[in-house]
Structure formats: structure tokens, C-alpha cells
Amino acid sequence: MKNNIRVERAIVKISQQQLADEIGVSRQTINAIELGKYVPSTILSLKIARYFEKPVEEIFQLEEGD
């Protein structure tokens, strides 16, 4: 699964730490998701999507082989 959290973050100009605090997770989690090392749960991806005020599919997309 790929995501464009990094791009979305750049648009609203917030750091990983700020996003993590806003959603209530650790900075490692945001970092791991951005690097594609960790696939977030549905709850977390919905929270991230809600924060950026976009539908989940615009931030997270399935990849070939998922």
C-alpha cells in the first residue's frame, strides 16, 4: 500500500511530530507509515484522512500485489 501523507503534510506545512500529536500517535508511527514500513489500521487511516479533510482513498492507495 502506498500513501501520500508526506505530500499532504507539505501542503498544510506541518511536521511529522505535529501530525503525530494531532492524531495521538508517536512520531515513529507517522514516519514508518510514510516510509511504507507500516500499514496503519483502519481507525488510524480514517483519522489521518479526517485531519487532512480528504477521503481515505486520496491518501492511501492499493498497490500491485496487495
Binding site: Q16, Q28, T29, E34, L35, P40, I43
Partner: protein, 151 residues
């Protein structure tokens, strides 16, 4: 949607580390000073050693199963995989010790000092906690270290 994750509150971690250092020092003291010098009655020294050993086990339990400051799903994922790794390693150690014991029992290539075997066999449940703490902390440290390169 909040699930109970059966973990202890975060402050148990501090209590655990304090208790760990305390009981570790006093276990050493009671093992090597009290027992050797025979300051007290041997039985009292043995009880002391037992109590500090028990405290050490509890402190390892507290440290191992206290929540992190932010206990999110990634941390829980690291926790879970660490438990699996710990289980494999300690199971391997356990099996190796027992197989070695059995072979030695049959062929007697090493002296059968019962003390060594009692130590080797009783070490397992406690070392499992300690091993888990080491593995979990290391993996947590690695995941934090990766942050410095970003931004």
C-alpha cells in the same frame, strides 16, 4: 473503540527500573557478602536472597509490561513481534539445555555438578522477561533512530 491491551500504566516503568536497580544491587550484596561472610544466620541470608530475587522478577515484569508514554499501534506491533522473537529464542535455549543435559546424562563427558544444571534450568522464566525487555527496547531504539534522518 478502545480495547483493553492488558498492559500496566506507564508509571510502572519507572517503578520497575528503580526496583530493578535496587534488587539487582542487593541481590549481589546478599549473594556475595552476606552468604560468604556469614554475618547473619545462614537461613536469614537465604531468605534475603530469595526476597531480592523475587523483587528482581517483579521489576522485570513491571518494566516489560508497562505502557509506553504513547502506546500506539506501531508500538504494539513491535511489542507483539518482540514477544514472538523472545519465545523462539528462549524456547531454543530451553531445548538446547535439556538436550545437552540428556546427552551428558547418557555419556557423562562433563562432570555432573548438579548445581550448574539447577541454575541452567531455573534461569529460563526470568531470563525470558529480561530478554524480552532487551529485544523490545532495542527494536524501539532502532525505530526511533530512523527519525533523525527525516526532515
Amino acid at each position: 473503540m478502545k480495547k483493553n491491551n492488558f498492559l500496566l500504566p506507564h508509571y510502572f516503568q519507572k517503578i520497575g527500573w528503580g526496583l530493578f536497580i535496587f534488587s539487582f544491587i542487593f541481590l549481589g550484596v546478599s549473594l556475595y557478602v552476606f552468604n560468604k561472610l556469614e554475618l547473619f544466620d545462614q537461613n536469614y541470608s537465604r531468605y534475603g536472597t530469595m526476597i531480592f530475587y523475587l523483587l528482581l522478577i517483579f521489576s522485570a515484569l513491571f518494566v516489560a509490561f508497562a505502557k509506553e508514554k504513547i502506546e500506539d499501534e506501531l508500538i504494539q506491533n513491535i511489542r507483539f513481534t518482540s514477544i514472538v522473537i523472545t519465545a523462539y529464542i528462549s524456547f531454543s535455549i530451553f531445548m538446547i539445555v535439556w538436550i545437552f543435559y540428556a546427552i551428558n546424562h547418557a555419556f557423562r563427558f562433563l562432570p555432573m555438578d548438579p548445581k550448574i544444571w539447577i541454575y541452567l534450568r531455573s534461569i529460563n522464566p526470568v531470563t525470558m522477561f529480561m530478554l524480552y525487555v532487551v529485544i523490545f527496547r532495542t527494536r524501539l531504539f532502532i525505530s526511533k533512530r530512523g527519525l533523525k534522518n527525516e526532515e
